[in-house]
Structure formats: C-alpha cells, structure tokens
C-alpha cells in the first residue's frame, strides 16, 4: 500500500459521487475544448481558404461583425494602380441561411478574376459568363444542400441554377456557394458594392514591401485595412469577440466545476472527520493530511480533465460533421489546447481542495475522534 492507494481509495469509496463530480468538471473542460477548438478551427479554416485561392493581401473593412462591411467597388481600380500589385479581384461575400442549411458562405467573385482559377470543376461546368444566373457549389455545400448539377438553389428571393460542383481545395472553399459578382450584387441588392479586394503581389515580394503596400492602401482607403492573408482572421474584431465568448463561456462552466469539486471535497472531509482524527492519533502529520486531501482533489480534477477532453473531442468531431458547420469551420484538435485543458482541470482540482484541506488540518484529534 502506498500513499496513492489511500488517495485513490477515498475516491472509489463513493463511486457515484465521484462520477458525478467528474461529470461536473468534465463539462467545463469539454466546453473549453469544443468552443475554443471551434473558434480556432474557424480561424484556421479561413487561413487555408486564402491560401487555396492564392491571396497574398486582403483589403476590407473588418470593423463590423464576422463579415466585413461593404464598400464601393471602384476601390479595386485604385488599388490595382498601386505599385507592387500584380493582380486584383473583387469579392462580395455574405454568410446567410440558404434553404435547409442554417448558415452558409456565399461568395460573389468578379467574373474572370483569379479567385475562380483555383477551383477544379468535378461535375458540370463554370458559369458561361458574368451575367448567367447560375451558381457553382463547393463539394461540401452541395452535400449540405443536397443538390446536384441541374437543381436550383434559392438565395434570398432568386432561384439560381446549379451548373457545376467544384473542389475548392480547402474546407471553407468546399463549403461555399460561388457565383459571379454581378449576379451576387443583384441578388442581395448590393449594386456596386463589394466587401473584399483580394490582391496577389509579384513573386518574391519581401515582407517589408508588402508592409509598404498595406500602408499605401491605408492612404486611399482610410476606413478599411489591408492585411497580409495570414493575419486576416486574428485581427478581425468579430473573431476576437468569438474567441472571447468561447473562453468566457468555458470559464463559466469551469467555475461551476470548481464549486462541484469543492462541495465534494468538503463533504468528504466532513464525513471523514472521524477518520482524520484516527490518522492524527496514529501520528500522521497535519501536512500529510493536507496533501492527502489536495492529492484527492487534484486527481479528481485530472480525471475530470481527461473525461472532459474526451467529451470535447467527440463534441468537436460531431459538430464538425453536422450540416450547419461542416464546410464552414474545420474543428481544430490542437494537442496544445488539449494539454492546456487538462492542466486547467488539475489546477481547478487543487484550488477546489484548498479550503477543505485547510479545514481538515485544523481538526483537534480528540474532538475529531469523538465525532
């Protein structure tokens, strides 16, 4: 028998209570893994999309929500005229509910622009021209909407024909509905408006030159910003709100977990007052009693953390494949996040055990024995 046997025995003596406490902590930890994983999955997904399309710099006005505010399409010409710009294309992007799908990315892309060139048509064809009332679906979007070539998709009040299904080479692209910018502006009523100018710079342009370009753009578009593709999502205010919300929701769940563990540990200390008296009478040091209680609560935390990470991963995988999110967010099973979550759980355990441990160390042996 070791000290660990003693710690473990007190958790197994009331299996139902221990399990319920574990569930309490694990919900908090599962919330961290799922919500934070979804948020960072969203960030990663957008990054991959920009990469797949081959965008180097994005010009937008990110001050609004998750989707940037729209601005006049004439900006594109001004940006195209700047030095160090190889190619530009305009995009009007919206997130909206389409038929059965609760939320979907719809991307109106300037006809003939480079944003179309990364797509590989798997089925059907591209739109004939910039004014054909047609859409191309990413593979996951087609799956979510249950559409095939020849079907129609209703966007706002317009019925548009699905002319092709394409592989966009990134999860977000595959979850998107594509149409030409002109049709998109017409359908959504945003005539003359866009909300992105995507830029390609000449090959081998240095980071400093790109920074210079971004500064030039700021000069002609003060209310917006030009950003290197890799920084787009992290600097979006909407994304920051999502990240803050996912952490604060998780924090709330963790606090509930802390109270649960604290309650359990206080109960075990109270109901074991007599036994703690016996241990004191047998010559156990108060320090050993304290570390016994703390080890119990830390172990409880760690087990809860492991269960929570398991639940969180399951939650993330099932959310990732649910129709609302599939193709929109790529769940991020980052090992660092999983380790952080377990560490949080252990710290939660120790913190919850502090007060009960202190209580247990203050017992007078003779009184504890009588209880």
């Amino acid at each position: 028998m070791t000290f660990f046997t003693i710690v473990l025995r007190s958790l197994t003596r009331r299996p139902v209570r221990t399990c319920l406490t574990l569930v309490g902590i694990s919900i908090g930890i599962a919330a961290v893994v799922t919500l934070v994983g979804l948020a960072s999955g969203y960030e990663k997904g957008i990054g991959k999309q920009l990469d797949a399309v081959g965008i180097d710099v994005v010009v937008s006005n990110m001050s609004g929500g998750l989707m940037p505010k729209s601005f006049n399409e004439s900006l594109e010409q001004k940006v195209a005229a700047l030095p160090r710009v190889a190619e530009t294309t305009s995009v009007l992007m919206r997130m909206m509910s389409v038929e059965e799908a609760p939320i979907m990315m719809i991307s109106g892309r300037e006809w003939g622009g480079f944003a179309w060139s990364g797509m590989k048509i798997l089925n059907g064809r591209m739109p004939k021209d910039g004014s054909e009332k047609a859409v191309v679906l990413g593979t996951l979007a087609a799956e979510a909407l249950k559409k095939k070539v020849g079907d129609t998709v209703q966007i706002e009040v317009e019925e548009l024909t699905v002319v092709g299904i394409a592989d966009g080479r990134s999860m977000v692209e595959n979850g998107t509905i594509f149409l030409s910018l002109g049709v998109m502006q017409e359908v959504t009523g945003d005539i003359g408006k866009i909300n992105f100018v995507d830029i390609r710079v000449p090959p081998n342009t240095s980071k400093e030159e790109i920074d210079l370009l971004c500064r030039d753009i700021k000069g002609i578009f003060p209310e917006g910003r030009a950003m290197v593709a890799s920084e787009v999502v992290g600097s979006s205010q909407g994304f920051r709100v999502v990240r803050a919300m996912s952490w604060s929701t998780s924090l709330l769940a963790i606090i509930v977990g802390v109270l649960g563990v604290m309650n359990t540990m206080l109960m075990t200390v109270f109901e074991r007052t007599h036994e703690i008296g016996i241990l004191l009478a047998l010559g156990w040091r108060r320090r050993r009693i304290v570390s016994m209680v703390l080890c119990e609560s830390a172990l409880l935390g760690m087990l809860g953390g492991l269960v929570g990470v398991g639940l969180g991963v399951l939650g993330l995988i099932s959310l990732g494949s649910s129709p609302g999110i599939r193709g929109f967010i790529e769940p991020d099973l980052n090992p660092r996040l999983l380790l952080i979550s377990i560490a949080i759980a252990v710290v939660v355990g120790v913190i919850s055990g502090l007060y009960p441990a202190w209580r247990s160390s203050r017992l007078t042996p003779s009184l504890a024995l009588q209880s």
Binding site: M1, S10, I278, L282
Partner: protein, 243 residues
C-alpha cells in the same frame, strides 16, 4: 539482568525504572470552565509498568489518557514524557507515531481499508519501504493471531478480532508506551479476557509500558498497579492485590 524480584512474602516488586510520565497539578476544563475533567492531578508512571486507571464514568480517566497521548492539551499544570513537556513537544505527530500506540474502546479502524492496510497506517512517514511496511504488518497480525484475516475489511471481523487489529496497529512502530482506553468495553466477556491476555503477553514480551483505562475491576486486577480516580483527582494508588 532481572527486572523483577519477589519479596519473601511473594509480592512482585519492580525496580524503580525510568520516569516515563509525570503529571503535577494537571487540570483540564471544557467549555470555558463549565465542565472540569481534571482538578489538579499528580501522577508518576515508570518504564515497564502496567498501570490500570479505574473510576466511574466522568471521573476524568479518559481525558487523562488523551493528555498522555497528546490528543488534547491540559488547561494548567505540568505533564511530562521522559522529562519533556507533552503540550510543548515540537513534533507531537512524531511522538504519537513513534513513542506511543493507542488502543481504543471503539477500535477506530478505517472501514475502507483492509486489516493489513490498517496496520500499515502509522508507518507512513517512517523509514520503512513499501514491502517492509507490508512485511512488518503481516508479522504483527500473525503475532495477534490474525494471520488468516489479512485481506478482510474491519466490518467482516468480530469485535475481539477488530481489537486485535487495533493492538497490532498500536504496536506498528515499536512504541515504548501503549495507551489503552477501555479496550474491552465493547467486547463480550470471553473476547475481553483474550484481549487482556494478549495485552499482558505483549507487555511482558515487548516490555512496553502499558497504561489502561477501565471500569471493569476484573480487568484492573490484572495490572501491576491500580490508580483510582474520582472527580478529576487520584484517590488511591496501590499495587494490585493479586497478580
């Protein structure tokens, strides 16, 4: 070297051993003086003695035993163990773990641990390795006749067996003193007899000083010295009549 000799009349007399416990004017009050358990008690117990402390319920005998075991602190007076003040011991846990062994009326075994594990409890923090602890516990349990009950839980044992486990546990760290508080109080007369025989046997073999609180005259009669208490004081202190 003989440790005991008989007078021509056949009485057992012990040579004056080392002074183990010394109490001078020992007082204990509870509830801010509303309850007085000890009212100035004087006492000396020497090494190798078997002392029975007897008296009515509430005379303060169990309180005295708790003071001797440093489970509670006196309100006033002096209480020494081998010349050192018990309430001022720098490490009372070490005193309880290494110098004394407790045996209680209600056994006080830990219900979720086996007999073998219960006996190992006082050995934590000592120098023994895991396997040495186990071997020592097995040895102790065999010496009290429970070698066949090692992996039973306390609830599966009879009262007499439980008290044997408690005695084995009390001897875990080879203490100089065993403090027994009504060790036969919860037992039937046959088990009580066996427990007293066991304690007496250990007292003789291991030369431990045995301080036993009881209100059973037949138990007290087995001791070498009987201290009678009343109202928190010693009223008589004499060798047992028959031994």
């Amino acid at each position: 070297m003989p440790v005991a000799a008989t007078t021509p009349l056949g009485e057992l007399i012990s040579p004056p051993g080392e002074l183990i416990y010394q109490a001078i004017g020992l007082k204990k009050q509870f509830d801010n003086g509303k309850v007085v358990a000890l009212r100035g008690l004087d006492l000396e117990i020497r090494k190798g003695e078997f002392v029975a402390i007897v008296g009515q319920s509430g005379c303060g005998k169990s309180t005295l035993l708790q003071m001797l075991g440093s489970l509670d602190k006196p309100s006033a007076g002096t209480l020494n163990y081998r010349g050192r003040s018990i309430p001022d011991l720098p490490d009372p846990a070490a005193y309880r773990a290494l110098e004394i062994g407790f045996v209680f009326q209600a056994f006080h075994l830990l219900p979720t641990f086996t007999v073998l594990e219960n006996v190992q409890m006082p050995m934590f923090g000592g120098k023994l390795s895991r396997s040495q602890r186990k071997a020592r516990a097995v040895e102790l349990l065999e010496s009290v006749g429970l070698g066949h009950r090692l992996n039973h839980y306390p609830s599966e044992l009879s009262g007499g067996e439980r008290q044997r486990v408690a005695i084995a546990r009390g001897l875990a760290n080879e203490p100089a003193v065993v403090l027994a508080d009504e060790p036969t109080g919860n037992l039937d007369s046959e088990s009580a007899l066996q427990i007293i025989d066991l304690l007496l046997d250990l007292h003789r073999k291991l030369r431990v000083t045995l301080v036993l609180v009881t209100h059973d005259p037949s138990v007290a009669a087995r001791a070498s010295r009987i201290i009678r208490m009343k109202d928190g004081r010693v009223i008589s202190d004499q060798p047992a009549a028959a031994h």
